[in-house]
């Protein structure tokens, strides 16, 4: 499912395991809470490798295959560590119509990273998203929590420079 050999793994610290266990405990008796649990765990460890999935499986008493099924279904969950900064280029209709794909290709070339993956120095992860709901400001791009409007070759590198 993922080319783990080409991307360095990120260590999960004992503190992180502690947080993860707390999350599992909080939701243990609530039915249907798998997705919120995975979301919060991913916030802690940055990604959901098999070890984390196994921990959740034991804690919530849900088969590992079910958990893997959910992790692989939703695009928010990742088994590859994310970079320090996440770049999301919008390819929704309005952005596509205004040149979003050119922006995506440009970032791919400049940083040598594929969509859905992370740069080898773990600086950036690149994703294309379907629609950020900022269609009035197409083409749009999000880096971490910052949304940028009317992005093009003229300003895209300047924007990314500030994210070390």
């Amino acid at each position: 499912m993922s080319e783990l050999k080409s991307v360095p793994k990120k260590k999960i610290t004992p503190e992180m395991w502690g947080e993860i266990d707390k999350i599992i405990n909080r939701y243990k008796d609530k039915p249907g809470s798998l997705i919120p649990v995975l979301e919060e765990c991913q916030n802690v460890s940055g990604y959901l490798p098999m070890e984390v999935q196994e921990r959740v499986s034991r804690g919530l008493n849900i088969p590992g295959s079910t958990i893997y099924g959910v992790v692989s279904f939703y695009s928010f969950f990742t088994m590859i560590p994310k970079g320090r900064h996440i770049i999301k280029v919008c390819l929704g209709t309005a952005c596509y119509v205004r040149g979003g794909k050119a922006n995506l290709d440009y970032v791919k070339d400049e940083f040598e990273v594929e969509v859905g993956s992370t740069t080898t120095d773990l600086r950036f992860s690149l994703d294309s998203v379907r629609c950020l709901g900022a269609c009035g400001m197409a083409p749009a791009m999000v880096v971490d929590k910052d949304t940028y409007a009317q992005v093009s070759r003229a300003n895209i590198m300047e924007i990314l420079e500030s994210y070390k």
Binding site: G32, S75, Y96, V97, R98, R130, C131, A134, G136, A154
Partner: protein, 1038 residues
């Protein structure tokens, strides 16, 4: 304050009245009065950097000691997205747009302290440059009807008291305390509210089913998983007015007797989730969520459930499955959610926009809501207008509004004077509505009948630079990726359709693919498990229905007219040129001073470079990528330079003829289409005879376009180059008079008709046939023949196209005072903008908004009565229809009046020829008329168009004739045998912003003295500088 009862709710509302009255403008405006600065703060606004403006404003207000009377409040987005960061100052209602932190100083000093609003920050209407200070006076807003969006700019979404002051929870109070469940459902049914998420199911009916289901545990769900690309209505409501949604959910809960609810919000909306969270927290504090709400005895509470990035989870049953912690896969129905939904309990799922309307329906009554809209679609609808449109943002209009009004009146039309192509409604489940159907109104059934769907409200406008095959592929790719995989039609059907669409965009399609796509589409629609699969084929079906010719072009001619599918074109300029000129190639050769090779390369696809370099309207420049940096490349001037250089150096036009064929071809008409057809047929080895009724060849080039634009020696030379390939010419011969059509059909193997459109269109007003009133085209013909008709001293020209301008400028050179009378405004004139400006420089008066009424002769003086007009409704082409102003008549006297409002073709020489609206009808692909072996092209088919279009039509006709004649004889059709010219494939270095180089012109005063050429070409330094600006889009980096 803890839990409140109804009285306390009303008290809070009463206390907030003063605050809201300021924002409603209900208090007198005083320079030192209380001011509320509502700065937009939705996600899109943050993306436009509204937060630094907000912070700067707060700081400045604080520093100047104004915090007591000036409140800075961040709201949701305020609809007109591209104006962000924007702010309304109440009670004035003044609207400031495109704010930057540096503007804050002026706002505070001039407006807040001195009471003088800052004019330079007002909104400016781009169509007329007028600035509009007040928000509600801006047509974008005044043309809307805000019901769902009623709290736009009026409340702080993070302060519940603001919402309560605007009647939040009054509906809930009434429903919980005053009404029985059946009454609530009844009012919802009367209102006619239909699900705003896209399916349009009657909300009252859905609630009724669920209320009748047995069981103590029931659920109310809010679908805030707005996943349609191009839709941002729900996000805006959640970020601006979250309490409206909570209010609606409480009422729904009472109606169906549910006590637990969820708001399923997509994770891509962090601001919406944050504001919802705050709203829920504040509502809980007041006891508006929880047990015994407002002392009614009714319990209801809800939670936010965050999505995890799956479009399919916006589907009803998939959403519920997701809340249950599983993969978001839909379930078969029956059983329907109203009976068995979340955790198998009766569940009602409603969209955000639907719920946001519920409280008002309960407060004002169902009939109030139903008083607006159409028979089957009541109320208002919020659309998210985006794409190739000037004003993008949220638009709320009553149901029954024509789409044309939304695109033009509110949307402000298409930017950069591009041509509208279609509007996509309903996202990946919807369809494209072409310009012929722009009168369709916003009504569920009316839109469905076009093949689109109302959808959740996403409305993306597309123009001539969008490829509809690529759009269909784009949506199918989306559906394929988002397909959950559970059912075969969804999983495999979308995959196969995507494969076919991708092949077509790469030039590997087959004609049978279109039928296969339709077959697959109908199959998938019929058998898919959920709405995603059932509607995924819609964009494909819709684009095939209205844009089938684009599919055919991609498949049969490997052509993407819009210049989008990268495998089907080299560079946009080459693609846009009807002749397919190798533009970057010859630009590179000219820059390297390899002029002979440059002209050879140009001549490979264009036999008249000197002519076109002077008169072409350059579709290439309209798509030049360089324009995105500074300005397009001045391509025609570079071409002209190469042609002039070749002439100077005596370079002879060379050509390569194929082996002689035996067939004889007749070409009727000596204009550009006839010349093009003759030239290529001659190169292909055929025996060509041209028939031209006038003394010389050239058509519109000689008898239409004046000599000051196209010198006669250049025209003569290039025509000779064409004839010298071995074409027989018979001038002064009119087919139908001097030689019969029957004889031609007998003597020739094929006939090409390129007779153009030379007859002036009749205006249809009284007095048109009075002596002194003439057709513009006929006048130009006389001048072309070398005559000088007597036009007197004062001339009026009615019309706005190139013919009108040519007539006007010719008369000016003949010493007359000329006035052009046009019924719309200058920017609507079809003539080339530069021609119009050159004419005005030469002293021609342009009177706009003048419509001819009647022409008369009083006491021997010719005069015209004109109606002054004003711009009315938009027509489907986005131009405003001129409406005569009552009693505003003008009488003007002239010696001569020319009618130049258009031209028609004279097909009287041939009978039985099928015409369509007066133009010769041909098959789009074979170029054949209905008569055997007779082909046609140029203005006689299309109506007046560009010279380059006619030349290209002649060329395509030659190819078609050769294909058919070769097939008859069983020989291979002609193939181009161009010499390969080596072109340096080098990408230019750094791009430095600079203007486009323009060719020098003789001064206006000088040039009206005679008909010598107005424009001189570039010099060597300028042309090389201009060539260096070319970005070489033809060079592909591997």
């Amino acid at each position: 304050m803890g839990k409140i009862n109804r009285n306390q709710l009303n008290q809070i509302r009463f206390k907030g009245k003063d605050i809201i009255d300021i924002r409603l403008g209900k208090v007198p405006i005083k320079a030192d009065g209380e001011k509320h600065l509502m700065i937009c703060g939705g996600t899109a606004c943050h993306a436009s950097k509204s937060e630094p403006v907000r912070d700067a404003l707060k700081r400045e207000v604080e520093t100047r000691g104004l915090s007591n009377r000036c409140k800075v409040i961040e709201t949701g987005n305020d609809a007109f997205a591209i104006l962000a960061p924007a702010m309304v100052v109440y009670p004035e209602g003044v609207y400031y747009v495109h704010l930057i932190p540096d503007d804050v100083h002026d706002i505070v000093s001039q407006h807040l302290i001195d009471g003088k609003p800052v004019e330079r920050l007002f909104y400016r209407d781009i169509s007329n440059g007028k600035s509009i200070p007040r928000m509600m006076d801006i047509p974008y807003f005044s043309n809307q009807r805000m019901v769902t969006l009623r709290n736009l700019t009026l409340i702080d979404p993070e302060i519940i008291d603001d919402a309560i002051a605007r009647d939040a929870y009054q509906g809930a109070a009434k429903a919980l305390i005053d009404m029985a469940a059946e009454e609530i459902i009844n009012q919802m049914k009367i209102s006619g509210l239909r699900g705003r998420g896209g399916a349009g199911f009657p909300t009252g009916m859905k609630w009724e089913f669920a209320s009748k289901s047995k069981g103590d545990v029931k659920y109310i769900l809010c679908n805030a998983d707005e996943g349609d690309p191009g839709a941002f209505m729900d996000r805006s409501v959640l970020e601006a007015d979250p309490h409206a949604v909570l209010d609606g959910m409480i009422i729904a809960a009472k109606a169906i007797k549910a006590h637990q609810g969820y708001i399923y919000c997509r994770a891509e909306y962090p601001l919406a989730i944050k504001r919802l969270g705050i709203a829920i927290g504040q509502a809980r504090q007041y006891g508006l969520l929880g047990t015994n709400i407002l002392g009614s005895g009714f319990d209801f509470d809800l939670e936010i459930y965050q999505g995890a990035g799956a479009f399919v989870c916006g589907e009803e049953t998939a959403l519920m499955t997701s809340i249950e912690g599983k993969r978001g896969m839909p379930r078969p129905r029956p059983p329907f959610p109203a009976q068995e939904g979340l955790w198998k309990k009766p569940t009602v799922l409603n969209n955000v926009e639907t719920l946001a309307n519920v409280a008002q329906i309960i407060l004002n009554g169902g009939e109030w809501y139903a008083s607006v809209g159409t028979e089957s679609s009541k109320g208002t609808k919020v659309f998210a207008l985006s794409g190739k449109v000037n004003n993008s943002g949220l638009v709320e209009v009553p149901m029954g509004t024509p789409l044309k009004d939304i695109v033009y009146n509110i949307g402000g039309g298409i930017p950069k004077a591009k041509r509208f192509k279609g509007v996509q409604l309903g996202g990946p489940s919807g369809g494209c509505i072409p310009s012929e159907l722009l009168d369709t109104v916003t009504d569920y059934e009316a839109i469905t009948s076009t093949g689109a769907i109302m959808g959740s409200g996403g409305m993306v406008v597309m123009d001539e630079d969008n490829c509809m095959v690529d759009i269909a592929r784009f949506f199918m790719e989306f559906c394929q990726e988002e397909s959950c995989g559970k059912c075969t039609p969804g999983r495999e059907g979308t995959k196969r359709m995507l494969e076919i669409l991708t092949r077509i965009t790469k030039g590997r399609g087959e004609l049978s693919d279109i039928d296969t796509l339709e077959e697959l589409a109908l199959m998938v629609k019929d058998s898919a498990l959920c709405g995603l699969g059932q509607t995924a084929p819609n964009p494909v079906l819709s684009t095939i229905r209205y844009f089938r010719h684009e599919y055919e072009d991609h498949i049969l001619e490997h052509r993407c007219e819009a210049g989008v599918c990268p495998d089907l074109f080299k560079a946009k300029c080459i693609n846009a040129c009807p002749l397919g000129q190798e533009v970057p190639g010859y630009i590179s050769l000219v820059e390297e001073e390899r002029f002979e090779e440059a002209i050879r390369l140009i001549r490979q696809t264009n036999p008249m470079p000197g002519t076109l370099g002077r008169v072409c309207s350059h579709p290439c420049m309209d798509v030049c990528i360089r324009a995105q940096t500074d300005a397009p490349i001045n391509i025609p001037e570079i071409k002209r330079y190469a042609a002039d250089m070749a002439r100077e150096r005596g370079v002879v036009a060379e050509f390569k003829k194929a082996k002689k064929n035996s067939e004889e071809i007749a070409v009727i008409g000596g204009g550009p289409s006839g010349l093009g057809a003759s030239y290529y047929l001659s190169l292909m080895g055929y025996n060509v005879t041209m028939f031209e009724e006038l003394p010389k060849l050239g058509g519109m080039l000689r008898y239409g376009i004046p000599a000051y634009r196209l010198p006669r020696d250049i025209l003569d030379e290039e025509i000779n180059d064409i004839i010298n390939t071995g074409i027989a010419v018979r001038t002064g011969v009119r087919v139908g008079r001097d030689i019969s059509m029957e004889k031609l059909q007998k003597d020739f193997d094929a006939i090409f008709i390129g007779i153009g459109a030379h007859r002036s269109q009749i205006m249809g007003i009284p007095g048109e046939d009075i002596d002194g009133v003439y057709g513009g085209a006929e006048f130009l013909r006389q001048v072309g023949l070398g005559n000088t008709p007597n036009i007197g001293k004062t001339v009026a020209v009615i019309g706005g196209g190139n013919t009108a301008i040519d007539v006007a400028r010719t008369c000016r050179r003949m010493g007359a005072d000329v006035t052009i009378l046009y019924r719309r405004e200058q920017k609507d004139m079809p003539a080339t903008a530069e021609e119009i400006e050159d004419g005005i420089d030469e002293g021609i008066e342009l009177k706009t908004f003048m419509m001819p009424g009647s022409i008369n002769k009083d006491n021997g003086r010719l005069n015209i009565i004109l109606h002054k007009c004003e711009p009315g409704e938009f027509d489907r082409d986005g131009r405003r229809t001129p409406v005569p102003i009552t009693d505003a008549l003008v009488r003007e006297e002239y010696d001569t009046i020319f009618a130049a409002i258009g031209q028609v073709s004279d097909t009287s020489f041939i009978s039985n020829l099928d015409l369509k609206r007066g133009w010769i009808e041909i098959d789009r692909l074979t170029l054949k008329t209905n008569l055997d072996n007779i082909y046609a092209g140029g203005d006689a088919v299309t109506g007046p168009a560009l010279v380059v279009d006619a030349l290209a039509a002649g060329k395509r006709a030659a190819i078609a004739i050769d294909r058919d004649l070769s097939a008859k004889k069983g020989r291979k059709p002609y193939e181009d045998q161009y010499d390969k010219i080596f072109i340096t494939m080098k990408v230019p270095g750094d791009t430095i912003k600079q203007d486009m180089a323009k060719a020098p012109k003789i001064s206006a005063k000088e040039r009206i003295k005679d008909f010598s050429e107005v424009e001189h070409g570039f010099d060597i330094k300028t042309v090389k500088g201009e060539c260096a600006r070319c970005l070489r889009c033809d060079v592909k980096i591997d």
